[in-house]
Symmetry: C2
Subunit: 212 residues, 2 copies
DNA sequence: GCAATATTGTTATTATTTTCACATTTTGAT
DNA sequence: ATCAAAATGTGAAAATAATAACAATATTGC
């Protein structure tokens, strides 16, 4: 099977979100141009992206959403819920916990939370199990957790990520400004950094006007 | 001046963050390979990126951080603090507010918050001015706000963004899962979507193993 | 001083990604 | 039935970005 390029994966992930919502609203078909509209992309791009999944529609007709969904599940692994954990249950960590538990998510299941501060573990009221930080590795392995959200202070980010890697996670979502490197091969890291995003926006706006 | 490609802007924004921290710690020089290490990139890439700024260093020597900083300020507009506002002061909005006010930021200044719920405006204790949502346009114009962080419910995201555009913002950082389209040309939009990021991570992990 | 080493500047090459073009197929109206 | 319109499938072209290669320059140790 040919490797799917990263930008394509990124867009197809959004496509999956969109068709799920449409399906809930009883919509059964969608065209490449409509999808393009939602994503801010052209119909060309969408068709080419879908092409990476193998044949999904028939010419002349729109895409059958059910078919599209099935293909995305098969090729991108969106079938069964991914088990996640949150490391660092401060303000951000707790907000993330609430957010992910509140929204009815068929795609992700938060099954554990970790913090080095025992007081935090006793303070937070939630339906999932909470553990001290030194038990990250064992717990991740035991519960077969695949994804970790890192929301500790930047200084501890790498160490927290290393423990998750040791436990066997497959992906890390880093909310701290620190740069995290995966300890093992095959672990993917992505960052969510507010200051960084703002800086990029500022630079985009600036360079676009500076060139006029 | 030649247009700087987006990936380059993205990386140079991180470079700016890194050299600021190093400068605080009294470090005066840095090499392309060291920078590459921080960013998870090769020295080649870093040198090529810096090359877009015009000449920054001299062969044989490392980069003078002060020079690099000056060039980044000139070319990417990181000189004076950018004025920001937060639209939607729920759990996430309040957390963002605290986060951006807490960290001593020379790059960004949060100068206003907006919410449609008057009760929220009276509940939150903060040092910046808070306004009802219907005053977004006027306030953004008056305070010359350049960047907006959108943290309302997804259904209201486009409307909130439109008002910010009307007021004249240059960039929008969208924290909701809704897709936002800029109302005016020249307004840049970026999204921070936890579910989306998780899905991308999951897909990356899945496709990497499915191909083995 | 000079050679060895380390480091940047710049061009060239390669790979990736986007965009385009058009053939093919279905639907629906006349 | 037939034609026009609309939609996807797919390969080619163009644009963009990453990687590599190497020349040029400074520093350091001897
Ligand atoms: N990307 C975003 O959207 C965003 C927004 C706000 C904050 N942040 C970042 O998120 C991080 C957390 O912010 P916060 O406001 O929640 O901070 P916080 O101080 O409220 O929370 C940090 C928590 O991490 C715990 N912790 C420390 N070391 C640990 C370890 N080794 N293992 C497990 N837990 C550990 C602490 O006990 C604490 O509860 C910071 O790095 C901050 O910069 C990111
Ligand atoms: N990207 C992330 O990291 C992340 C994390 C958590 C939540 N979220 C998203 O952020 C959004 C807010 O989440 P939350 O938990 O803070 O929700 P919330 O309900 O606590 O807050 C929403 C706030 O927006 C206000 N509001 C509604 N309509 C408005 C309008 N037109 N103008 C101004 N204000 C308006 C409401 O009064 C409320 O105070 C949601 O879309 C959620 O999905 C994103």
């Amino acid at each position: 099977m040919k490797k799917i390029p990263f930008p394509v994966i990124q867009r197809l992930s959004y496509v999956f979100e969109i068709i799920n919502k449409l399906e809930e609203n009883g919509i059964g078909k969608i065209s490449s141009s409509e999808l393009g509209g939602y994503l801010g992309q052209t119909a060309h791009t969408i068709r080419k992206d879908i092409h990476f999944l193998g044949i999904a529609g028939t010419p002349g007709t729109k895409y059958e959403i059910a078919d599209l969904r099935r293909l995305l599940i098969d090729h991108l692994g969106f079938g069964e819920p991914k088990r996640c954990c949150i490391v660092g249950l401060g303000r951000l960590g707790e907000a993330l916990l609430e957010q992910l538990l509140a929204i009815p998510q068929d795609a992700f299941a938060v099954v554990a939370g970790f913090d080095s501060n025992i007081n935090r573990l006793e303070t937070i009221r939630t339906s999932i199990e909470l553990f001290p930080a030194y038990r990250i590795e064992k717990t991740v392995r035991k519960l077969q957790i695949e994804l970790a959200l890192i929301a500790v202070l930047p200084q501890q980010a790498q160490e927290a990520a290393d423990r998750c890697c040791d436990g066997g996670v497959r992906g890390i979502l880093n909310f701290t400004p620190a740069v995290i490197k995966p300890k093992r091969k095959g672990v993917f890291v992505r960052a969510v950094d507010v200051s960084g995003e703002l800086r990029i926006l500022a630079a985009l706006a600036y360079t676009s006007t500076a060139n006029e």
